[in-house]
Each structure stands twice: as C-alpha cells, then as structure tokens.
Symmetry: C2
C-alpha cells in the first residue's frame, strides 16, 4: 500500500512492517547540518560535550591498567542488572551532596541517564498519555517521549525556574479535560536548555502540587554539582522519597564516554526499572562501572568537579561578555552553573531557518525549535559554552553576530523571515546532549 504520505515505501522493502511508533522516528534536517558542524573549522556552540581535556588522563590511564590487572575477571564479565553494588554505594555519597538520603538498593545504574529516561518512560507511558515538562525542555527527553508516543504539555519557566502557578493551572486544565498525566519531567538545576535554576522556595510547592494531582516527578539532574558560585540546592528527591524518581549522571561531572548514569526510584518502581533494563541491555557495563568506582575511590573527584566549575565559569564569562559586545540586540540569561545560555533573537529572526547560514559562517548552535514538542521556539537558540576554549567561544559569538546582522538587514529590506511552528521534534543525538 503506497500513499503520498509514505515516501519511504519504494526504497524500503520493510516499510509496511514497522510498528506505529517507528514512523515518528525520522532524522531532522538539523541532524544533517550537525554532521557539517562537527568539522574542526566550525565553532560549535551546539553540543553539550564536557571539557574532557580538563581530566588527569595520566592518572586515569594508570587506574584503568590496575583495574584490569587486579579485577579483570569481574570487570570483563557480565554483572548485575541493577548495577555494581560498590558503585551504587558511592552514588549514594555523591547524591548526599544535594541532601539526598538513599540506600544503595534504591539505585539502578543505567547506560547514561538517557537510558534511565527511556526506561521510566517505557514503564509509565501508554500512547496518548500526557507528560508535563518545562518550556523549553531537554531535546533528548522530548525524543524519548515521542518514541513512546506520549503527548507533552509544556509549562512556563521564568528566571526562577518552573512557575508553580502555571503548573497548577496546567494540571487543573488537563484534569478537567480528563487527560491522564503520568509525570512532570523537570531539570531543576542549570536547566538544559534554559540555564535557570528552580528557586529553593518553589521546590516544596512543585512537589505539593504534583502530589495533589497524583503526578509523579521525574527529576533529571546532570548539572546540579556544577554551580559556579553557590552550594548545591537540595534536590526534589531530598524532600520526597515516594513522589520523585531522580536521575543522575557522571557524564557532566566526570566523563560521558563510560555511559554511566543512574535512577533512584520508590521501591516498587525500582524493581520494574531493573526488569526493564535487563530486558533492554541485560546489565550495564562492568568495565565502565568499575572504572568509575575506582575513580571515586582513588581520585580527588570533588576537587575535579571544583576545577570543572572554574573552567566552565571562565567560559560562561567569555560567552556573556562576547554577547554583550557583539550581539547587544539579542537578550539572554546569565546562567549560574551548567553548560547553556538561552538566547532570544531580535523580533523577526528565525533561528532554525538561519542555521544553514550560520554553519556556512562556521558557527553552530541548536535552534530553539528542538526544545519544544510542537516545534515552536524559533525565536530562540541554545548556546553551549562547555566545550570550546574561551577564545573559540569569543570567535564563535563574533561569527554569530555577523550572521544575525545580515539576517536583520534582510528583514529590514524584505520583512520577517520567521516561520511558524515546525512539525517535528528532533531525536536526541550526542550533539545535543
């Protein structure tokens, strides 16, 4: 059966065999651009890649050698589906820095916290169920939600994070419409892509509103320890054990190459997460888990996080001062931690349609459309300062300023080039982590 809506039919002999969910899986035009954007001559302000060059590679190399020598028969073997017990013990100590009191039994180790996102969505979401999420939201989460055929309803943020009154209004409306809201997905600290942090006094309010509406909270917290000037705020999980699933990751505080993240969940949910994870991958990599356990045992990991914070603060400062100097006609927030600046373009500009010209000018960013389920947000872009050096960041912003200047000139002559909401969310990719 061929129809105009199924352009793949003639090329793909298995086109009619796919599951319903697979038809939502398609590569976006942005992905194609990013393959160009990864060339060395392009300054990428797009990716969320941490600054691995800041790690003590020599020390890590020797740890790796000793690990295989001394524990090779464990490191190279299958492990437990829930994850290595020693690592889970260390993870509870990492989480204690944000006020979380958890037992190693509550922790499920995953292949990056992305897998935890996928598993939670898999066990909670039937097609058509609603997930409430900040506007904008992490592109990788939106991709998972779409793959599981969820409907995402965005709730406003301001400079203090998710707005409790807006959350309440949205949940009340959805309840009155008889919609089934399964969870609130939130990145409370140094939001991706918004850059803002949920204020301390709002945290119990958000939990209380969700509790009243019977909505689980999915707290995604890869950046919590990466604040520049202040101690970490208490996690939502530290205020509610039964109402929150917490996701953590070593990708931003140590290294993403091991793909080790984790979930902490109420007991019965945790059991299902383990079964779902065993079905998906049997067990997380022992080699990766023991490498991280060894690092936490023998290296000064808290000192390393402090170094990362200083490096990222320097890069944030470079980006903000370059924006002030070169693109004063745009507006942005000044993040107090994490990796991202959320920039609002001057009226009439469209970050998505502008991207090919930016890549031609050898600078890349992620258009705001990637972070909204309905593809709106074209007036915004996410700029990352985590990976390039301060000098490259300044060069990238200079190039971006030239592109914006030219766009503004075009708009002055021909009128607005802004497009309406797009029709596709981008699937997550490592470029957008």
């Amino acid at each position: 059966m061929t129809s105009p809506d199924s352009p793949g039919t003639r090329l793909d002999p298995w086109f009619d065999s796919y599951a319903a969910r697979a038809h939502a899986m398609r590569a976006s035009e942005i992905r194609a651009l990013f393959s160009v954007a990864n060339r060395p001559e392009v300054v990428s302000l797009a990716g969320g890649m941490p600054y691995i060059g800041g790690l003590p590679l020599e020390e890590l190399a020797e740890m790796q050698r000793r690990l295989v020598m001394e524990q090779g028969e464990v490191a190279l073997q299958y492990g437990s589906g829930q994850g290595d017990e020693g690592l889970r013990e260390h993870i509870t100590q990492v989480m204690a820095l944000e006020g979380i009191s958890a037992h190693p039994d509550d922790v499920v180790v995953t292949t990056g916290s992305q897998q935890a996102l996928d598993l939670v969505t898999k066990i909670f979401i039937d097609p058509g169920d609603v997930i409430v999420a900040e506007a904008p939201s992490y592109v990788g989460a939106l991709g998972v939600f779409r793959a599981h055929e969820a409907d995402v309803v965005h709730v406003a943020m301001d400079e203090n994070g998710l707005v409790p009154a807006a959350l309440e209004t949205t949940l009340a409306r959805l309840a009155s419409e008889g919609r089934r809201v399964k969870f609130l997905y939130t990145v409370p600290n140094f939001h991706n892509p918004g850059g803002v942090t949920l204020a301390l006094e709002r945290r119990p309010q958000v939990l209380e509103i969700c509790r009243r509406y019977g909505v689980l909270v999915l707290e995604d917290n890869p950046y919590g320890l990466l604040g520049f000037d202040s101690e970490p705020l208490p996690a939502l999980r530290s205020m509610s054990e039964e109402g929150v699933i917490y996701l953590g990751s070593f990708s931003k505080t140590f290294a993403p190459g091991y793909r080790v993240g984790w979930a902490v969940a109420p007991h019965a949910v945790r059991e299902k997460l383990v079964l779902a994870s065993e079905s998906a991958i049997l067990c997380p990599s022992n080699a990766s888990q023991l490498a991280i356990r060894t690092y936490l045992e023998h290296a000064d990991w808290q000192g390393q996080i402090k170094k990362f914070r200083e490096q990222y603060r320097e890069r944030r400062d470079a980006m903000i001062s370059a924006l002030e100097e070169h693109i004063p006609e745009a507006s942005w927030n000044v993040p107090e931690g994490g990796f991202y600046v959320w920039l609002t373009l001057p009226e009439g500009l469209d970050a998505k349609s502008m991207l090919p010209r930016a890549v031609t000018a050898r600078v890349a960013y992620v258009p705001g459309t990637a972070f909204y389920y309905d593809g709106s947000g074209a007036g915004h872009m996410r700029l990352s300062y985590c990976y390039p050096t301060p000098e490259r960041i300044r060069e990238g912003v200079r190039r971006l300023a030239g592109v914006i200047e030219a766009e503004l000139e075009t708009v002055r002559i021909f009128g607005s080039g802004a497009q309406g909401p797009g029709d596709s969310v981008d699937f997550p990719s490592p470029d957008l982590a």
Copy 2:
C-alpha cells in the same frame, strides 16, 4: 481501584500509573533462586558467562592504559550514535569469517546484542504482532518480545536446527488466520538453549520461505565462531542482504563486560535503528568501543578464539562424559560448539519444580520453561558448560544425578510430579545470557 488481581496496589503508590506493558514485567521465582545459586558453594550450570579467566589480562591491562593515555579525549567523550567508525570497520572483518560482505555504514554498534534485540523489536512490533521463533528459544529474546507485547509462536527444531517444513506450515496457518507475522527470530549456530546448528542446506530454504511470506529474518549469532571441530557455516545474512537483520556480539568471543554488540540491517532499517538507539542511550560507550577496537587491532583475537574453542570443547567433553556416567536415564544432544547442552528428563520429572531441591543440593541449571513463551518445556533443562572448570562440571553433574535419582524415587512412590505449562516467561537476566 484495588482488585484481587493487583496485589501490588497497597504497597506501590504508582501501581495505577504504569503503562500496560509494565504489568507484564515481573520477577519470576527462578530469579529469586538464582540469587542463591550464585553463591560459590553452588556449581552453576545455569549461566551463560564466558570463561574470562582464559583472557590475557596483563596484555589487556596495558592496552587499556595506553588507550586512555593516547586517545583519552575521544574514549571518555560522547561518540556517534551509530558507533565508532573504526570499530565498525573491524566488525565487518569479523563477519567476513562467516561469509558476510557488509560495509561499515551498515553496522550499528549496540550495548551488547541484547540492546539490538530490543531496538529491532521496538521498531517492528505493535502489541499483538506475531514473532516466530524456534522451540525452545533464547530466554532474553522472549523477555524482550514480552516487554513489547508481542505474541510468540514457536516452530520445531530437530538435530539440524529449525525445520523448514514446520516453518512453512506455521507461516501458512498464521497467514490463513490473518495474523501479522513481523519476523522470524533464529539462533542458527550452536543454539541457545538447544545446542544445535541449522544445517547448511536448510539455510536457503528458511530464507526462501520467509521471503515468500514477507517475513523478515532476525539472525542472532553470538556463538558462530565457537565451533569445536569445523569451520563456521555461512551466515543467513551472507545469503540475503535485504531479508535479514544480523546481530553479533563480542560477549562470547571476547568479553561481555564491555557490553558491545552490533546489528547489520538493510539501509532504511539501519537508519531507524540508529534513531531508536540514540533515543534509548544517546550513543554506545566510546570507552568500551575503543577498548575492543584496540584489542582487535593489537591482540591475536583469532588465536584467542581458537583457545576459547579448545577450552569449551574440553568442558563440553567433561559434561557429556559425566552425563553418560551419572544420568544415563536422561537424554541430551552433543553440541558441536557454543555453551549449552539441552537435556530431556526421564518421563514424569519437572525441571522447574525440582530446581529448589537442586539448589539445596548445590547445583543450578535453567529449567526448560524459561525458553518457551507459554512456559511449557518443564521436562527439559539447559546445562551450561562455559564457566565452571571441567572438575566442577563433573561435580555439578554428580550432584544433579543425586537430585534426579531422588525425584525418580518420589515419582515411583507417589506418581508424577510434573506440572502443566507455567504462566510466565522469565525476564532476561545476566544469569541466563
């Protein structure tokens, strides 16, 4: 809403929030037993853990050190969703040993081939779709199929593997019933758990039957290079590029601790696999991938496989001679490669109900029920000879003989203890890989 069918309601505040698929995810009684079976005093003939002690750990340790020293900024960073290009190139060379001609672009690296199984099922299976599979079948695949709410229809095997005439009859019947068959799941070489290999002359027949019925073939081949006495047979994928998705793994030929497997799929399917994998985990671990790439580049991996084959042959011989000596009243096949013996108990015995007594007698196996979607197969068990030493294998079989003896005595006095088909398939776990 509480009902007698929902025993979790009172304990689990989120019981009513789960997706339909999550209700099928439950721990089996077998899992609880295996936590006991992993104690050192128990001889486990249950697991599919390879003999890691046979690896050159000192050489591997030094490779790991050099890898982090020389390529740390890549190994510890995010990578491509499809997997490292250099590793994919090496994978094509590994597959060439089984007659497969593939381009690195056709390969998708996954977190063990278990993840590839999950991704293929995710993109093809809507609830109620049919998957055809050998009787018995790999427990980890059945768990994935159940998690995606597939219906599995088993097809008979004999000593030459899947029976083409039985496949044809089954597909014809399903077609006449209007059932939607999405793929044939098959382990053609040294079958898990059956131990048999699909005969050369049957291979094109199976492909031709599937082609006629429009059924994709999912070829799962972790053991193909582990034949004891003969060269590998050509893979199904070597005979059909468009009709087969091929799954490979380094877990049995090298080490499962890295969790690196792969899929080779027709072009359009491969694109969807990459998108589904990025949604699930962003990207496979660069640390793991580069460790394996380094191993393939610098170590004598083919010589290592040869060593493994000799070690596993010795263990197979130990198991078969112990069975002949101690349990002549049972029957079994003599596998020519791989890890498993499929044993048929004397009439009247039930491997599942006998398992607690076996564990008490300090020997463990996997009851046949784990390998049938409807939980039948209680008259069989899978015995693995991959992990314990020959001496431990002989001791394990001796203990098993004692248990069987006692069961037979009970049956002689009280009649058959055999139960009907169970009602649950076991979820995969590392113990059953």
